[in-house]
Subunit: 198 residues, 2 copies
């Protein structure tokens, strides 16, 4: 009986969220109770609405309220290039640069046998279908340089190259503003490997 029942229930629900431990959960709950009722209803509604309205784009598998999504629908995007990412948040990171004008394909994860994620759990079949008889001439793999990312990139390039489509991978190396002295060895190895003539 530390907390009155509706408060205990709220703290318990908040604790299920990622990165929210018992302390944050308690703090958030006390904060929510202090808010105007309207503000709490807005947050609750935004959550339920997002869950109800957001589906996957049937073309690129990105999260979207519309199908196809805004990017796949847009006449301004270059349909010759598909940038393959693991998660919707990676797509968002790339869109923020405002540099890439092509379209995307969201895999929904990376190949990871330890986590029971094989190629069939990812939207790879859908990517191959998109490539068939299409105008795409380059697939850019924008996948993290982790073990799973390497495996996924290798798998995809082996699958796509025979179809005569160019497969590239984003560059890995020293981040801008980074310092050689403080960079980890793997990053330096990648930076050396990826060196270019100037």
């Amino acid at each position: 009986m530390l907390y009155t029942k509706p408060l205990a229930r709220l703290i318990e629900e908040l604790e299920k969220l990622p990165g929210i431990g018992p302390k944050s959960s308690q703090r958030l709950a006390f904060h929510l109770i202090k808010l105007p009722a309207q503000a709490v209803q807005n947050l609750a509604k935004a959550m339920v609405d997002a869950k109800e309205q957001i589906k996957f784009c049937s073309v690129c598998s990105n999260l979207s309220a519309d199908d196809p999504c805004d990017i796949c629908k847009s006449p301004a995007r270059d349909r010759h290039t598909i940038c393959v990412v693991a998660e919707p948040r990676d797509l968002v990171a790339l869109e923020r640069t405002r540099e890439f004008k092509g379209t995307y394909h969201v895999l929904g994860g990376m190949i990871s046998p330890l986590d029971g994620v094989g190629p069939e759990q990812l939207k790879i079949k859908e990517l191959l279908v998109r490539l068939q008889g299409s105008e795409v001439n380059e697939v850019i793999l924008a996948i993290n340089p982790s073990v799973e990312g390497e495996a996924t990139s290798l798998y995809l390039s082996r699958l796509i190259k025979p179809a005569g489509v160019k497969v590239t991978r984003i560059a890995f190396g020293l981040p801008i503003g980074g310092d050689l002295e403080y960079a980890d060895e793997l990053t330096l190895v990648k930076a050396l490997e990826g060196r270019r003539e100037v």
Copy 2:
């Protein structure tokens, strides 16, 4: 058009919460969308229910779905002692110790002229009413050792003592498991001041 509309809306609402920045807000939103619809509804409902159902106990001003609250109602609590705390979370921290068997009084904050909080914004009048002609013989001030906490404690002790009620304050000093070498100076000053004969 980085995010589809319901997602942008959810991220915006989550960002209003304390300690949730743009990154966490995005991460939470993506997490919520991946959850089963039922789980999202449970969380949304817990928030709205908590806000709707939780009121203040008319005796001690603690948050409670019932009035009076479970502690004020309980025949097992000692009505001769009132422990005064600033916030409901302080009450919870004390209840966790399972040591205190008296009742509580929640002020709803501390005196802080800089934030525009004077004694009249706190539940001090309610505390005095409780003390009038009651069986209470000790008021324990369990208020943080901050500038605001000191001011509030001093104010309360001056107000309550003339009524013939004993006023005590919890001890401040080196925390258990703490190390003299690493303790801050103010804590050490308090620890010295509060020394007791052994």
